[in-house]
């Protein structure tokens, strides 16, 4: 979640909407079953042009093309087409077999066995087999141990892998790890020969539908179709990626026909884009409240801060309707652990004011720290919240810092700011990621020291039974809700701008898989 305007996160089975330009545009996401969506303005089925070349504008440039070292949205957008993983997800987020032929089976609590697809080769001709999977896992284990990867949060629990036979491999974890299948949806498979490489950035070699073409740092990256792809050659022959962190510039490129797809289309620009597509994302902007010290240590004040904010207005006016109100838990409905008993704190400015007065903190200063430009509409949201809290009777000191200074505040364990803005994303679609980062005492974005909550989150992580995990997490989420450790705002949708000729349905996991795209003649 470090790089880029924001890194999109996935969300299971929430509805997605693809709207052609000219339709009303502000219709909320329909909770239809997700895979079918209207993509074109014409009724007739458009014919796909084979051998087409497209250009995609990303919000940020990859800092490296090594799939194991960085955790960066630009890198993922490109490498998701070059590399593949043992497990895939359907467009609406359900785990399915990928390079493995089936979901893993457990040999013992810390060992998982995968059956591998046969006849798959890497772009350099070397085979994909148990040896390459072992090499992949061992490289990641080494990178984590050496502190050379940003992905230790995803793969820190791995200890190694062993080959059973050519198409069977076992992956071991340090402790019981219910998240392992999701992790194998995240770990990109490299050839056996790359095992000891320090940096694969110069020549990415995967099994995916696209081969690495060229990379001009600062300018573009190109990929070419892999005619020998095991899933069949893709329809688009060549992809060029360009990068721009300015949403108006990306839109200008889309309108002028230079780009076929742009990420992070601003909600204000959906009418201006030739076509656009929206999908319920995994992004949850929140405000972390310091539950231990200062003005926010009073639970009633924290509740008042929730009641004071008009979440509906944020969804409607800041996100242009492309957002739904967060049901007070940071998790999306389809994630294991979502507590359907909870609903968002209502907008009740009068009660908020009352609670603030009763707590005896009216007129006192509350510090609100955030940044600008990293996540969609971050500054707008912060200013709006500051306005609402001011109305509730507090003296809001909003500090919009440079990202570096902001991170210093976020990571400062000794002096927690009263309220810190962050936009939480859940890349691997597992509750543990968000709960251990923001909910658990000592987590990097956590501002509470609730030991019961912490213990529940630990229990959930090592729980292998899905139903039991769900129960544990639902309980944890409820505690945080009652304690109002955060101000939950909305869950905003991922918006993409498309050129007229582009046919594509966005995925809930925000992957930009070019093999799923087609262009019309």
């Amino acid at each position: 979640m470090r790089q880029g305007v924001r890194v999109l996160g996935p969300l299971l089975a929430l509805g997605l909407v693809v709207t052609a330009c000219g339709s009303s545009g502000d219709e909320p996401s329909t909770a239809a079953s997700s895979t079918s969506a209207a993509t074109s303005d014409s009724g007739s089925e458009p014919t796909a042009a084979a051998g087409a070349e497209i250009t995609i504008a990303l919000g940020s440039e990859p800092t490296s093309l090594d799939p194991h070292i960085v955790d960066d949205g630009g890198e993922r957008a490109i490498n998701d087409n070059i590399y593949e993983t043992l497990l895939f997800r359907t467009p609406d987020g359900v785990l399915e077999p990928g390079l493995a032929t089936d979901l893993p089976t457990q040999v013992d609590p810390t060992t998982w066995e995968f059956k591998l697809r046969e006849g798959v080769t890497f772009h350099d001709g070397s085979p994909f087999n148990a040896d390459s999977v072992v090499a992949t896992v061992e490289r990641m284990v080494r990178l984590v141990a050496d502190g050379k990867t940003d992905n230790d949060g995803f793969f820190g629990s791995l200890t190694g892998a062993e080959k059973v036979d050519d198409t069977t491999v076992r992956i071991m974890t340090a402790a019981e790890d219910g998240v392992l299948p999701a992790r194998m949806y995240w770990l990109k498979q490299i050839p056996a020969s790359a095992k000891d490489s320090e940096d694969l950035s110069d020549a990415p070699v995967g099994t995916g539908p696209y081969k690495f073409g060229s990379r001009n740092v600062g300018v573009d990256v190109t990929l070419e179709a892999n005619a020998d792809y095991w899933g069949g050659a893709p329809s688009i022959a060549k992809v060029t990626y360009e990068f721009s962190d300015d949403s108006a510039t990306r839109l200008a490129g889309l309108k002028s026909g230079k780009y076929d797809l742009i990420t992070n289309l601003g909600p204000q620009d959906v009418q201006a884009a030739p076509k656009f597509a929206a999908v319920a994302g995994q992004e949850h902007p929140i405000l972390i409240l310091d539950a231990d010290e200062g003005i926010t240590s009073d639970v009633n004040v924290r509740k008042a801060l929730n009641l004071a904010v008009d979440k509906e207005a944020i969804a409607k006016n800041i996100f242009g309707g492309y957002a739904v109100v967060d049901a007070g838990q940071l998790l999306s409905p389809s994630i294991v652990g979502y507590n359907d008993q909870l609903s968002a704190y209502p907008y009740d400015p009068a009660q908020a004011k009352q609670l603030i007065e009763d707590a005896g903190v009216a007129g006192q200063t509350i510090q609100l720290v955030g940044e600008s430009g990293r996540w969609l509409k971050d500054k707008e949201l912060l200013e709006a919240v500051a306005g609402y809290w001011t109305e509730a009777g507090l003296d809001v000191k909003l500090e919009i810092l440079e990202f570096g200074a902001y991170l210093d505040v976020l990571f400062d364990r000794e002096n927690r700011a009263d309220a810190i803005y962050v936009s939480s994303s859940n890349d691997i679609l597992d509750a543990d990621r968000q709960l251990s980062t923001y909910y658990q005492a000592g987590g990097i974005g956590s501002s509470n020291s609730n030991q019961d909550l912490s213990a529940l989150i630990d229990t959930g992580r090592t729980e292998l039974d899905s139903a039991a995990r769900a129960k544990t997490y639902a309980e944890a989420v409820k505690i945080a809700y009652d304690e109002a450790y955060f101000v939950w705002t909305v869950n905003n949708e991922d918006l993409y701008g498309l050129s007229e000729r582009m046919q594509w349905t966005p995925r809930v996991d925000a992957k930009l898989l070019v093999k799923e795209m087609t262009v019309t003649g």
């Binding site: 108006a248 601003g266 009418q271 201006a272 207005a313 409607k316 006016n317 800041i318 200013e383």
Partner: protein, 341 residues
Amino acid sequence: MSELETHPSPAPDEYTARTHDEEAATHAEEALEGRPFEMRAATKGLFGELLSDKTGLFASVFLIAVVLVAIFAPLVAPYGPTEGNLSSSNISPFWKSDGTWSHVLGTDQQGYDMLSRLIYGLRTSLLIGFAVVAVAGTFGVLMGLLSGYKGGRTDRILMGWVDVQVAFPGLLLALIMIAILGGSVRTVILVLSFNGWMVYARMTRGVVLSLKERPFVEAAEVIGCKPRRVVLTHILPNLVSSLSTLAVLEFARILLAEATLSFLGLGIQYPEVSLGLVANNGRDYLFSAPRFIIIPGIVLSLLVLNVNFVASWLRVLFDPQEREKRFAANATSSTTPGATT
């Protein structure tokens, strides 16, 4: 333009002999100090020719009005700069069919009143302009006086420093410094002053050197006036005319520099507001609501334009030669290029 153009010749020391030749080639500051022939030509504009004094007068009236509005912003502005919330966002300006008179220029995406933001933004931008001119001007003039009056080693060291700093990539350095120090009115003033004092030092030094050779200064020294008295009573007054023109031009340059920094997101930050920040906030809305950028852009352009008019008017006002020249066939007054840092 007498002070500006009478450069000491023959040069009183080796440093001047060197810089006399070389500086001219590169820097705009030269316009106010360098070799007479080239620099006059280099900076001579059409303005003098084309402006009647009426334009200067009109520009001055405009600026005075703007300054008054800025000073009394809380009384003049219909709303606070960050007053309003999402329920009043994106209201159209009055000329649109769905516009209202309660928000003459409409509201922005946050629901803030555009007119009020412009007024408060003007206030901050002008404040920064005045402050930077004051800080950089004072420091620069002091350094220039010291350098010119003391001469010798002091002069060499100070002017060496000036030369080095003049060759710095100014905007880049300013961006880096603000990113590190954090954007606020205070840091912007500090950073722009740091990058902008050299021009005053050079000009002051040039004037001092030329005056030192003049009989009245020599006489004052001969009769035993203390250096400080010489500087205060004989040299400073002679600086006023050229300094005031320079200060006004620098003021315009600072306005643009601040706006550029804020536009790039590395200047003024919420809840402060400046013209550049208003434009920056509108960046994402270039296609959906271009007025968010165009209105502050026009206000800023008008402001800078009028400051430049006043500068050329001032120059003529202070300079009898220039006034005479106005009647000559090819008389012009001059303006330095309004530059970003």
